[in-house]
């Protein structure tokens, strides 16, 4: 049997609430510490205890760490999902199971390993009866370690980290790992091809989840006020703020430079944050889709009242109950159009935990510069799972507090200023904060209906002027939001646009499309709305552009259609959302389903008569030199593979 080294998936099927996350994180961290690129994703139901839950780990020497749909190694601990777990193993795969599950083994095409988990745990007198189930999870870690050569020292390191150096739980859990390891060594014969071998590809990297990264980034951004309300999957972001603020912003006098308030609901959470932002604090909230719905009225007000505030939306499937613990990119359209009346949102789209940190601090700079809400759209997969990352980088620019007038500034101006006066021609006025003692400092804030000096007015032309200034401000924002990241490939003929947590799946799909289908692609990961000039340039460049996203209706695609109607026919939607983190498989299959052979090639095959409306439109848009060039390239690359 050919060995398969550092290129497989491990999936553990357990019951929710059974305490398996320690064991699963231990596997993930051990592989990471062995220097092998790895990812881990918790696929959990919405309940406290009882329903089946899976944890899936992708080990890949080449760094492709998106979720792998093919399950190579499956560990079955839950009788309720046993039959399904057994059926899910790929032919030639490996199946480990707790041997107290007395269900038929119906597969002969896989390696099967029963594990006497209960007996092994019972045999350790140091494990209290109450802890047997919890510690039992560590037995499969040990069995797996023996069977695939997972490094026991790295396992110990992972446990030491997890239990924050507390010796008693470390010992108890590590002993269970060792017992599993020894039992497997003595009793199991290796019948599967999967092995781990140490590498050096994770050197210098860290592991973190996006919510913690976002919280830490916010702290380095100088967050001063947080109003929040618990909601999965955003809760751990606010909790990470609570946990880390006292440490990172510790002062000698023991006093605080920040306040975190758990509100009574999301309306109040954003209301408080808007109040704080209005009064001059770096202010934020974190929520998910349903919470964002409740925040809508305040988000609209903040846009009109020109109040800086940062709103994190860790996206999930919604509304109500059903799949609230599943990931999604379903809030993009909603966030884009949030509020009532005409509004534009600034949206930041981090693609990994590193960017969660970076956008954590950057969002405040943009919000205070533009004086408007800034949304950061993460998702459950990025927010709650552990990801490999470059170490977080200290903010490379000083804080941008935007245009603010204090007493001395007002003295210089002799009190002559207008809150909404576009003095600099960028649409952004100067603001003052409550507490300013200059007698001319104050102004009255309301939604619509004010002139440049914040005086009440319902005059038509004054309203129009204000609306046009708000639009100008949004144009100004393009200079401040992060530009997209482009992954190019020599000879690419197709453009891919995606955003957020799908990056790993898209990069892997790009590789598969090139090597298996001869389709070369360039991939632009959009990192913000409004779209910057780089997005315009990218869209102009290709004849077909696949817009990949995790939702049903192709929300990014819709927004692109609105912003670039002239390129509509070549923008194709590859949208898919089933609650599972993105995989290369669905990205690849989605692109293949929408892919059209370049027109030049089609003409050769004398099917010109059958040119569809879409194709006709494509040919119309091919006016730029860049487009012609890419067609020529397409001809050559497609030829080699097609015939």
């Amino acid at each position: 049997m050919n060995k398969i080294v550092n290129d497989f998936s491990i999936t553990v099927g357990t019951k929710n609430g059974s305490g398996s996350s320690t064991a699963n994180n231990t596997i993930l961290r051990s592989v990471f510490k062995m220097g092998i690129p790895v990812s881990g994703k918790n696929l959990f139901p919405s309940n406290i205890q009882g329903l089946p839950t899976w944890y899936t780990i992708r080990v890949n020497k080449d760094g492709f760490i998106a979720r792998r749909e093919e399950l190579d190694i499956v560990i079955a601990i839950n009788p309720d999902s046993f039959a399904r777990d057994l059926a899910s193993v790929v032919p030639g795969g490996a199946f480990f199971y707790a041997d107290d599950i007395k269900q038929p083994i119906t597969r002969a095409d896989i390696a099967v390993y029963p594990m006497p988990i209960k007996n092994i745990v019972k045999s350790d007198p140091n494990v209290p009866t109450d802890y047997r189930d919890l510690v039992g999870n560590m037995v499969y870690v040990g069995v797996l370690a023996q069977m695939i050569n997972m490094d026991m020292d790295k396992i110990l390191a992972a446990l030491t980290f997890h239990f924050k150096g507390k010796q008693k739980p470390i010992d108890m859990n590590y002993n269970a790992v060792k017992n599993g390891f020894e039992w497997a060594k003595a009793n199991l014969e290796k019948k599967d091809p999967f092995y781990l071998e140490p590498m050096n590809k994770t050197e210098g990297l860290i592991m973190a989840d996006g919510n913690t990264a976002g919280a830490l980034g916010s702290i380095f951004g100088g967050v001063q006020f947080v109003g929040w309300y618990p909601i999965t999957p955003a809760t751990s972001l606010a909790e990470a703020l609570n946990e880390n603020l006292p440490v990172l912003r510790k002062r000698e006098d023991g006093k605080h430079t920040y306040a975190v308030v758990q509100a009574e609901d999301e309306l109040a959470a954003l209301g408080m944050s808007v109040g704080a932002g209005w009064a001059g604090l770096r202010s934020m909230t974190s929520t998910s889709g349903p919470g964002l719905s409740l925040m809508t009225e305040f988000a609209g007000l903040a846009y009109y009242a020109e109040t800086p505030v940062v709103i994190w939306d860790v996206q999930r499937i919604g509304p109500s109950t059903g799949l609230p613990t599943r990931t999604s990119q379903g809030d993009l359209s909603f966030t884009h159009f949030i509020g009532h009346g005409d509004s534009h949102s600034i949206i930041l789209l981090p693609g990994d935990v590193y960017e969660c940190f970076e956008f954590g601090w950057k969002a405040f700079d943009i919000a205070e510069r533009i004086q408007t809400p800034v949304f950061v759209l993460s998702d459950l997969d990025m927010g709650m799972n552990q990801w490999m990352s470059k170490p977080f980088q200290y903010p490379e620019t000083p804080m941008d507090r935007g245009k603010v007038l204090f007493e001395k500034d007002l003295e210089e101006l002799k009190g002559n200023w207008g809150r909404y006066l576009d003095k600099d021609g960028d649409g952004i006025g100067y603001r003052t904060f409550p507490g300013n003692k200059h007698p001319m400092s104050s102004y009255f804030t309301r939604g619509t209906g004010h002139d440049a000096y914040a005086k009440y007015s319902e005059e038509a032309h004054i309203y129009l002027d204000n609306m046009n200034r708000l639009k100008k401000k949004h144009e100004t924002a393009k200079q401040y939001v992060p530009a997209p990241v482009v992954h190019t490939m020599k000879g690419a003929t197709v453009g891919i646009i995606a955003f957020g947590s799908t990056e790993a799946a898209v990069i892997e799909a790009q590789h598969q499309l090139a090597t298996e289908h001869g389709i070369k692609t360039d991939f632009m990961r959009v990192r913000a709305l409004p779209f910057t000039a780089e997005v315009d340039a990218f869209i102009k460049k290709y004849d077909q552009i696949m817009v990949v996203e995790m939702n049903r209706d192709g929300q990014m695609h819709q927004i692109l259609l609105t912003e670039y109607p002239m390129f509509g026919p070549k923008l194709k939607s590859v949208a898919y959302g089933d609650g599972m983190p993105a995989s290369a498989k669905w990205v690849r299959e989605g692109i293949l389903a929408k892919y059209q052979k370049p027109k030049a090639a089609a003409q050769k095959k004398t099917v010109a008569k059958k040119v569809t409306k879409k194709a006709a439109a494509v040919s119309k848009s091919k006016k730029t030199v860049a487009a012609k060039k890419s067609t020529a390239k397409a001809k050559t690359s497609v030829k080699s593979k097609r015939k």
Binding site: Q224, F225, V274, A276, Y394
Partner: protein, 351 residues
């Protein structure tokens, strides 16, 4: 303490902050002529002027409704935020963290606080921010021209609405059960009491709820209606005659008081509220008593006015957070961004 009385040569219409009453005024009112809300706005101007509070030390907040429009009719020199219907408490809560030395004045109505904003109303009570929370209570929606509010009494008849079938919400009772630290009720037709209660409420270091029955002259002023002038005048039952005394004038008032007839409540700023009992001895620091007099009033159809409850021992919201001495909105990057060395520590904390 230094003498803060007006200096010789200062015009007599100037207070010890060096300001005239004009410095406390706002824009002309656009509410109905004779509206109780206008009278309340005037009393706010007078109370602040007489207390020598500088307008820049006050921030105004409101939601939506007739009452919520009134912050533009007083204190032009103060910052103000006219926010969303029923959401004034959350805006105020966040804003007051920016400078813990500021005093909030929130103006709301019965629709804004007892209907759409009931949740925020009750939660802001338990948080105890340093703000005066006025409910201009008329039992009706004025801005949308005459619908029932949650404080309207059962059986009230309104044009276009018919008869109100529901029991009313009692603002003061709700405030009490939500652990508000200062609860008072007054009647817009009794400007002297309104002013004295405003002063006491402004001196309170925490949330001070002032439920002011403020009849709607246009949409709810039938003689038999609970929130009408006629009914209010006939059924008003003042708990105490109340006088607010600024600390510097304490000596003068002490001479006026007779032994045994006064109840003193010392407020956080050192000022004192002195309550004069009318018919019965009433202890406003006693929650049981507050509950009892409100229940009694309800049963007897009385409009009980005066200081119903006060607790000066509870810390206000910002003081619970142990904030730095400098107002948070004056802090700079040096205070807010962790030192460069901390990034390595953070990365080391990750796995």
């Amino acid at each position: 303490m230094t003498e803060a009385l007006p200096m010789a040569g200062t015009p007599s219409n100037t207070n010890t902050a060096g300001l005239t009453k004009n410095d406390y005024r706002g824009n002309p009112s656009t509410l109905c002529q004779g509206c109780g809300h206008n009278s309340i706005s005037n009393q706010i101007v007078t109370a602040l002027y007489e207390m020598n509070i500088v307008p820049e030390d006050v921030v105004k907040f409101s939601g939506i409704g007739c009452s919520s429009k009134s912050p533009t009719y007083f204190l032009n020199r103060s910052f103000g935020f006219n926010s969303l219907h029923g959401r004034m408490p959350s805006i105020a809560t966040g804003a007051l963290f920016a400078d813990q030395y500021l005093k909030g004045i929130g103006v709301s109505g019965d629709g804004d606080s007892a209907s759409i904003g009931m949740g925020q109303f009750k939660h802001v009570m338990r948080r105890n921010p340093n703000m005066l929370y006025i409910v201009e209570n008329n039992g009706v929606y004025g801005l949308t021209k005459g619908q029932f509010s949650a404080t309207a009494e059962k059986g009230l008849q309104l044009k276009k609405q018919g008869e109100n079938p529901y029991m009313p919400v009692d603002i003061c009772m709700e405030a009490l059960v939500s652990n508000a630290t200062f609860i008072a009720r007054s009647f817009a037709g009794n400007p002297k009491q309104v002013k004295e209660l405003l002063k006491a409420a402004l001196a309170h270091n925490g949330i001070a709820v002032l439920d002011i029955i403020s009849p709607c002259v246009t949409f709810n002023n039938q003689e038999n209606a609970f929130h009408s002038y006629t009914w209010g005048k006939d059924h008003e039952e003042p708990l105490h005659e109340i006088s607010y005394i600024a600390p510097r004038n304490e000596i003068i008032l002490e001479r006026e008081m007779e032994d045994g007839e006064v109840r003193e409540v010392t407020l956080h700023d050192g000022s004192t509220v002195i309550l004069k009992n009318l018919e019965k001895s009433y202890d406003p620091s006693n929650r049981y008593e507050a509950m009892r007099v409100m229940e009694d009033a309800q049963r007897n159809n009385w409009l009980i006015t005066g200081l119903l409850y006060v607790d000066t021992t509870k810390p206000n919201l910002t003081s619970m957070y142990n904030l730095v001495d400098t107002p948070l909105n004056r802090l700079t990057e040096a205070d807010l961004r962790p030192d460069r060395s901390m990034i390595d520590k953070v990365n080391a904390l990750m796995f």
